[in-house]
């Protein structure tokens, strides 16, 4: 994945660039809004990370808006120290696709970038999701693993659907809270973990190969490949 990072803070820049490189992605960096605008308009990127506070008191949102106005559809993740829900809404209204507040864990950033690029590649009007022998029919809402049918509660179904749509990617607890429960706050407990372990009971317990795995310090991933799961 090719990433453009528009960020003026050197430490954050190094931290993100190094992380991306280690994860096997290429990244360009722009330290100012103008440079970022130029790069974003001229080079094809898979995803753009845009800081909100840029030198010269430029709000990254203005650049996002300008890019969108010029017809650029590249997914944009907005980075900001402003955590208010209202700021978040403003960021998304300006044309951002996701919003992450500083300070953040790199795992969280990477997971969200992954989710954004996959989304951009188009999930289309899929009606069936499949990971190994686990199958979900979105129309009939039937879940099967191998030949066995699995009964899920509506919320468990939604959780599994989200995990399947982001198969082979790391999904963080915050992402699950936001997308499955629509909770934009930290419930301060490990309730998400409990939900995951309940789901795991249903889809993995009686099978030899576990699909739903915990990624240390990051979140979870639903994958058929054994090499994922520990970063």
């Amino acid at each position: 994945m090719k990433v453009l990072l528009v960020e003026d803070n050197e430490r954050v820049t190094q931290f993100v660039l190094k992380g991306l490189q280690e994860a096997g992605h290429t990244a360009d960096h722009a330290a100012s809004g103008r440079e970022g605008m130029f790069l974003a308009a001229s080079e094809p990127y898979d995803v753009i990370i845009m800081d909100r506070m840029l030198p010269g008191d430029i709000d990254g949102l203005a650049i996002v808006e300008a890019l969108r106005r010029s017809g650029k559809r590249t997914p944009i993740l907005i980075l900001s120290a402003l955590s208010d829900v209202d700021e978040r809404i403003r960021g998304l209204r300006a044309g951002g696709d996701d919003y992450l507040t500083k300070p953040f864990a790199f795992g969280e950033l990477l997971a969200r970038l992954d989710a954004l690029t996959r989304r951009a590649q188009g999930e289309g009007a899929q009606t069936k999701l499949e990971v190994a022998d686990l199958r979900v029919d979105l129309l009939t809402r039937k879940v099967t693993r191998g030949s066995r049918s699995i009964v899920l509660q509506p919320r468990e179904f939604k959780l599994l659907e989200y995990l399947m749509r982001h198969a082979d990617q790391v999904v963080t607890r915050t992402m699950l809270l936001e997308n499955v429960w629509d909770y934009h706050f930290d419930p301060q407990t490990n309730v998400v973990d409990v939900h995951i372990s309940k789901l795991r009971q249903k889809i993995d317990a009686d099978f030899e190969r576990p699909l739903l795995r915990t990624v240390r310090n990051a979140g979870y991933t639903l994958t058929a490949h054994d090499d994922r799961g520990a970063r």
Binding site: V85, D86, H184, F185, Q188, V191
Partner: protein
Amino acid sequence: MRVLRASALTLAVGYISLGLAALALFAAPLWFAWRVTIQDGRREILGADATRLAEVFRREGAAGLVSFMNARVGMQIAGERLLLLADAQLQPMAGNLRAWPSSVPPTPGTYTIKADLGRGLTDVALVHSVLNGGYHLLVGRDTARLEPLERRFWYALASAVAILSVLGTAGGILVRRLLMARIHGIRATVSTIIQSDLSQRLHTDRSADELNTLSQTINGMLDQTEQLVHGIRNVSNAIAHDLRTPLAELRSRLEELALTRPSPQQTFAEIDAAVADVDRVISIFNALLRLAEIDSGLRRSGFVPIDMADIAAAAVEFYQPAAELKNIQLSFESGGPASIRGDPVLLAQALGNLIDNALKYTPDNGAITVAVRGEVERGVEVLVADSGAGIPDADKPKVVERFYRGDASRGTPGVGLGLSLVEAVARLHGSSLVLEDNRPGLRARILLAQDTLQITRAARGDDPADERGALRHEPVYP
């Protein structure tokens, strides 16, 4: 100050002008009535006189009238009455006027002229009639008789005006003095308060006058400010204390790493632990920022019509697996319309905190009930009741304080901001968090104001969702 001075002056001037206007309104009709009555009466008397003289003329002819008039003039006192008989050429024949007054035209009618009746020029009212044979008869009356009365009327009016002006000005000055004295007092006290003595209060008494009420209001404001400042001091201390613990742990962890240089594997484990320490610090800051955001009241702009029962049902569903782990029965009850205007994210978080709290302090195999009931005391009641240890009455006010952690909470995770957030969210929605005894356990209650607008809409069959589209701050939480 200048505004005030001006306002005191304007007040005095205004009162005086008002008094004068009232006086004028009172005097003008009186004056008019007086004039009309006097004039009419005079004309009537003169008319009667003229008729009588005309009767004498008719009976006894011109000569008779002349002698009659001469007799009358001889008897008359001080010439207050005026009589004149003239021939067709306006040559006087009898009466007390030496010549025909030039200002009276030779046609019959009623006139007022200036004439000299021996005491200088005075106003004289005249009735002029023309008799058979071309004789002119003038009957008049000197109006000077009424002048002193008139003068007295004007004098009285003038003195009334003078007294009113003097009293008004003096009153205005006095009122201003009194007002300024009290305002100076208030200003002096407020100045000391500004110079950081927040315990000072303005002097008040039991009277209900405006300045007293104002002082009481200011005192109320000062009470709140003092409380807030105290709160901030306590909170700063608490923050410092609460942050010191994870930071101290972090520091010793890193120091030990630097000193002992353990194996890479152990080093990474320590680093992970250090990251967790930092996360704890960040979560404290996030919670504080969240509280500050709520306290600022800015979130009120994002209020939308919501169904509290939906939010509660979702929260209960979310926490259900956690309750199952402790074998706690987490149940949800709802009844009545639960439509309110509010912030769905904050209300969900507040309710989440209450349930989370209940889960923490309820022992295994206990029970937690979440209830949302409409039409309780004309509002929507949100209730979280548990069968845990509860909170002693003495501690109830303290638990909502920021960073307060009861004895029971030692050793449980959390930073002691959970209930503060619930309280802040309740306050933002114009309510408060009430903690009651559940015997055993704790009942946390919030009474939210019902969204009456939405209920009437629902009754009419309108779609309440329509309103969402019309809102300026559309509730988008993607």
